[in-house]
Structure formats: structure tokens, C-alpha cells
Symmetry: C4
């Protein structure tokens, strides 16, 4: 990734806005119970700079703009770290990078919502089929009269061990329209071309997860 060596005032302001927005959405997602127990998070591209990433193991609703890491969007390096030496970057980095590489995402989030776990329980083999919901139209390029297929992968002891399965799911043509990968017993990765689309997709998918668990088949 090429990052500009000299930052203009405008670029610095854009980065500060993005840092503030990431923290605001972490608080919103905490209230929705998607990122409780220090789990979950959201990343966001800052053009010309890198990918903003929250620290691991911290209460996500309390993350402040200066606590965020700047990391390589499609690699595994850290570009800039927060001043607090105790902070380490989220374990999600490898998976977020895979989504950015394979889908061109500008923002990827990781949810630990109970509804995602319960919906994954209803998957057949490695696929969750979703149909008969207007909300499907909230997923980019998707109609409300199609059957939307979402990949469901098996959980692993450590988060980075999920990468191979995530990459396979992203490459699977059956899931070309899916903007999420679900992990059994665990949660979901959801993305969009920018942070606003990622937020919309997250609201849509969580609605669908909850709907699937409450709707009689």
C-alpha cells in the first residue's frame, strides 16, 4: 500500500473525522449488543493513509479516537500505533484484510450479536438461505424476491485461524452477493464499500438474523 509521506490539513481533518465516526459507531453497536464483552469491532479505510482498527480486548464503547491503530489494509503491518503501549491491534486484522482484498470493501465490522449465533444454528451445512424479506433490498445489488445465500463457516480456537475458511467463502460464486460471512457459535463479519454502507448492511443482516430466529419456517 502506498501512503502519502506528507499529510495536508484536509487529509488530517478527514482522518480525525473517520476516527471519531469509528468510535461513535462502536458506542452505537455496543448499545445494540453487537460488541459487548470487549468483543467485535469495526474498521474503516482512510484513503492514502491505511485502515483504522480498534485495539483488542478493550471495552469497545469506551474506545477514543486516539486509541485506534492505523494498519495496512491488505497486509499485516502496523502503520501507526496509539500512544498507549499497552494496546495491541484487533485479532480481526487478517480477516478484515481478506475482505478488503477480495471484495474491495472500504469498511469491515465484526459482530458478536446473539442473533447471529442463533441464525447460524439454522444454517444447512455451510449455507444460510434468506428469502421473503423486503430488507434484502438493503444489501447492495440484491432484490427482495431472490433467495440470498450467506456462507456459514466453523468456529476455530483463535480468530486468525478463520482466515482460510473466510477466503474460501469470499471466493465461492454461490456467495457473490453476500456482504457477510457468518461464523458458527461466534458471530459475523459484515462489510460495505464505505463505513455507511457497512453500517446499513450490518443493520439489515442483524434484522434478518433476528427475523430468521423468530419466524416460523
Amino acid at each position: 500500500m502506498s501512503t502519502s509521506p506528507v499529510r495536508t490539513d484536509t487529509e488530517a481533518r478527514e482522518e480525525q473525522t473517520a476516527r471519531g465516526l469509528v468510535c461513535e459507531l462502536l458506542r452505537l453497536f455496543y448499545e445494540k449488543e453487537w460488541v459487548t464483552g470487549t468483543g467485535g469491532g469495526i474498521s474503516c479505510m482512510v484513503p492514502g493513509r491505511g485502515l483504522l482498527l480498534a485495539p483488542t480486548g478493550v471495552h469497545k464503547e469506551r474506545v477514543r479516537p486516539d486509541d485506534l491503530f492505523l494498519v495496512e489494509p491488505t497486509g499485516d503491518g502496523v502503520i501507526e500505533r496509539p500512544a498507549d503501549p499497552a494496546l495491541r491491534p484487533s485479532e480481526c486484522h487478517a480477516i478484515f484484510s481478506a475482505v478488503i482484498r477480495q471484495r474491495g470493501a472500504g469498511s469491515v465490522l465484526h459482530s458478536h450479536a446473539l442473533s447471529a449465533v442463533l441464525a447460524a444454528d439454522r444454517a444447512t451445512d455451510d449455507t444460510l438461505s434468506i428469502s421473503r424479506f423486503e430488507m434484502l433490498k438493503g444489501i447492495a445489488g440484491t432484490r427482495n424476491d431472490e433467495t440470498h445465500l450467506v456462507p456459514v463457516i466453523a468456529n476455530t480456537p483463535r480468530e486468525h485461524q478463520l482466515s482460510d475458511q473466510v477466503e474460501a467463502a469470499l471466493a465461492d460464486p454461490r456467495f457473490a452477493r453476500s456482504a457477510c460471512v457468518m461464523v458458527r457459535d461466534h458471530g459475523a463479519y459484515i462489510w460495505g464499500r464505505d463505513i455507511w454502507e457497512a453500517k446499513r448492511h450490518a443493520e439489515v443482516y442483524h434484522f434478518l438474523y433476528e427475523g430468521l430466529t423468530r419466524r416460523t419456517p
Copy 2:
């Protein structure tokens, strides 16, 4: 519709109050999960001016007073658009107009609540029957000892394609007391003679939707 060519200070203040209230209720409805994923919305008449309408495809809890369109209440024209050229008026316009024409509503809202989808699943053919709820008294002209009939129409790929079915439901004498039309797999349109009655009706109907899904028949 006739709109006054000259606006007095009082009229301008009234319009600003209405714009602020629409945005405040959008935030409230977002918290209630009636308008997540950029879906849903609420419209409100400004006497002598037109109908305030939110833009389509935006996060509804973040709409600001100056983002609203002023459109013809019973036609399909735009009277005044927001400064931001990227904004387009909500696809709900045609349906909101039908409700205003046929029911004399002063405010119409569109909900994407999951409870509306789940309650519609319990409809028999094109009708949801609701009885044995004190909350029925919250619907204008309705007693708590009657069986309240609500129309349930089929969903369509595009929102404006719902218009014919909505118009037929509004004209159906069985549904004369209903202040809502439900759309299968989708949500509901709910209205009132002004924005406060629309808000009351929305709270009452969502209570009834949730009650129907949790109550053993």
C-alpha cells in the same frame, strides 16, 4: 395543491418546527428499530406549503431538517428540494399521497419493524383480525371490544408498485377504521390526521403487532 407564494415569518417558523419534529421522530423510530437499514420514514403536512418527505437511501436517524423534501401531498411533484444534489425523495411518495387523498391524513409513516413482518405472517388471506386488547382504543374511533380488521397486501419488487393494492385496501369498507395497511414480508404504512396522531397510531399498532406474535391464540 395551492401553496402560498409569499411566506410570513410565522409560516416559516411553523415549517422549521415541523422539519425539526420529523427529524426528532426519525431518531425515535430508529431507536425503536422501525426504520433501520435506511428503510422506512415519516411524512408530515405543512399547511399551505406541502408535504415534508425524507430522502431515500439515507440513514434515517441522521436526517437533518434541511435534508427534507417538500413535495405535492396528493400529486407526484417536488415543490422544494434540499441543497444537496445527491438526495432523492423517498420512494414512499406515491403511497403517502394515496393515503392523504383517500383518508385525509396529515402525516403518514412507513415502518420496517420486524414485529410488523411477524404479525403479517399471522394474517388470514388479506386480513389481520385484532381483538382483546385495550390498546385498540388508541386507534381513532375504535373501541376495545370490537374486532379490528387491518388489510395485509402482498409485497412487490419496487415500492411504488404497491400503490394499486394500497388504494384498493383504503377503499375497502371492511377496513374503514384501520389507520394502517400492512405489507407482507415488508412492514406497514400507518397514518393520522396530524403527526401526533400518526405517532400514537404507530405506537399502538406496533404494540399490537408484537402482542399478536407473543400471545397464544
Copy 3:
């Protein structure tokens, strides 16, 4: 009731504090979905002055201190009305008075919570039996190892028509420890010796209602 003809500054301050607290709790109860759709409410004694009572038919979370009525706690008269001539006192007045007369309550509230309706569905005849909940200790004079009996009365078309049934339930020795009367399909009246005990009882009973509906018998 005797009300003091001359009010001291201290008394005036106490009344303003009570008016503010009633409005704050109405907002809290609205968030908890106990008083949505303009239904429900809470009353509070102001010593030497009368009973503070919300207006009927208004959005309860938007009631302001000066919108409250002062009414006779054990009679049916209005002592002081708000300046707005459109406001009428809550229909709950007769029932609140019955509870104050027969139980010496200092605050009575009326809930339209869905959990109250669902719990009443589980009553046998006119009684809901509650046991095996630590929360029972939150009801004044009640242990966690007793079976707590709550009266459940039938709903009526108008709220004041409930009075006879409420008075009979309050006088029934089986329900001597109950701090609530439930109304089928409708909700519950809950009280305490002051507004803080009424709030505690309301939180305890709503916990129990929800617990009864979710617990396998």
C-alpha cells in the same frame, strides 16, 4: 381533603420537585414501553395540596410539570388545572382514588405494558399466582418463599367502569399483600406508599410479568 389555603415557599418548592419527578418517571416508563400510545400514567400525592395527575390522551413522555392536574386524592374533584384549556384529567382518577382510600397509597401508576397483558393471560380465574422469584422480596412485606397472589379483573369498555372490580379486589383478603391489580387484555395498576416505592413495585412486578411469560411452568 383539607388543603392549606396559604402555601409557604418550601411547600411550593416541594410541589415543583414532585411535578418534575412525575414527568421524569413518565419519560422513563415510556422508554420501558409501559406508557406508549398515550396510555398509562403515574400519580403522586403532594402533602397538603392534593394528587398530581397527568392529562389524558397526551404523549406521556412529553408531559411537562405545568401540564399536570392537582385533583382530590380520595374524591373526584379538580383542585387546580393546567393553563392549557385543551387538557382534561386522566380517566384513571377514580381508580387511583380507590387505591389511595383503601390502601393508603401515596403514588399509583397505570401500566399498559405488553408483559402485563401476557402475564394476565396466565391467570387462573381471577388470580395470578407468583412464586419462586427472589424479586418477590421487592414487594413491601413479602418474602421470597411465599406464593404471592395478584388479582386479575376483567376489562371494560371505559376505564372508570373498572372501579367496582378494583374496589372488590382491594378489599379481598386473599390479595392483602398485593400492591397491584391487573386488568385482562389491558395492563395493571401498581402503587406504593410514596413515588419511590411505587417505582420499585412497578419494576418488580414488570420483572415478574415478563418472568412468568418466559418461564416454563
Copy 4:
């Protein structure tokens, strides 16, 4: 316990910060419905000073920093009481002390959440088995591929009567990794090495309680 007879400015500031944080978390837990009806609470060690403890029988979301007691962390004495003579220390003191003594906890909380009651209903004898949840990793020293065993004890008429059962559960090697003791029909005690780990554990366990009640076995 030895407490320093002279307090430095830094120590005084640390204590004020801890008092403020306890009150902030009480408000958060109230919103989550873990401490409604005046029940439940959280305690927190202030190094060199003692254990901060909320008063009993008060609305927990309204506790202010100066309302907290300072008590002996591993004994039963009160070190410093709030100015208000009506306040009495929480009945949880004996149990919190047992957890601090046996597990070296720096913060212990008591939840009255309905999900804890419902999850305890699913226990076999004195044990709740939890597996197949990524969230298990949020419990210190626990993997997501193990079966996590949590002790469930019987409720008693008075809270201090639970102490013997709590002490036995804490000493039971089967429950060495558990950071909670559940009480049937009542709730749970949850702890951590400091207040932040206690908060994380509380969020994790409540997620698991709710998950167990909603997941098909």
C-alpha cells in the same frame, strides 16, 4: 486489612474516580435491567482504603458517589459510611468478601437479571454447563472449545444465608474457572480482578445466560 491513616491527594483522586465509576456502571446495569427494583449492585476495591459498596434498598441508578460505603474487603466491618444516616450497607457484603478472599477478586457484582434466573432453570443439579459459544473466550483463562461449568446454588430467604453455599462453590475444583456463582430463582454473583474485568465478565455471562435460554439444546 491495613488502610493508610494519611491519604495523599493522588489517593483521594483515585477514590473519587472509583466512586464515580461505580455509579456510572450502576446506571449502565440499570439500563440493561440487571439491577432493577432496587436489587443487585457492584463493589470495587480502592487499594489501601477498602471496598466501595452501594447502600441497600435504594434505586441503584440514582446512587451518587457520596452515597457509597467503604467496608472491609475480607471482613464485615464498615470503614467509612455516607453522611446520610438513613443508608445501610448492601446485604451482599458477606458474599462479596467471600469472593475476594477465595478468588482474589478486585470487584464483585450482583445481578438480578431475568436471563440469569431463566438460565439457572436449565441447570442439572448444581451445575450449568456452557459450550459452543465464542463468548466463552471472554472469561479469563477460558477457551471457546471447552465446556464451562458454573455453580448454581439454592436460594435462601435472606441474602447473607447464601454465604455457606457460595463458599463451597468457590472451593469446588469443578468450578475453578468460573467467574460467577448463580443462585436459582434469584440471579448471579460475577467478579473480576478489577472493575473492568468484572464488567467484561458480566457482559459475557449475561450473553451466555440469554443464549442458553434462546438456543435449542
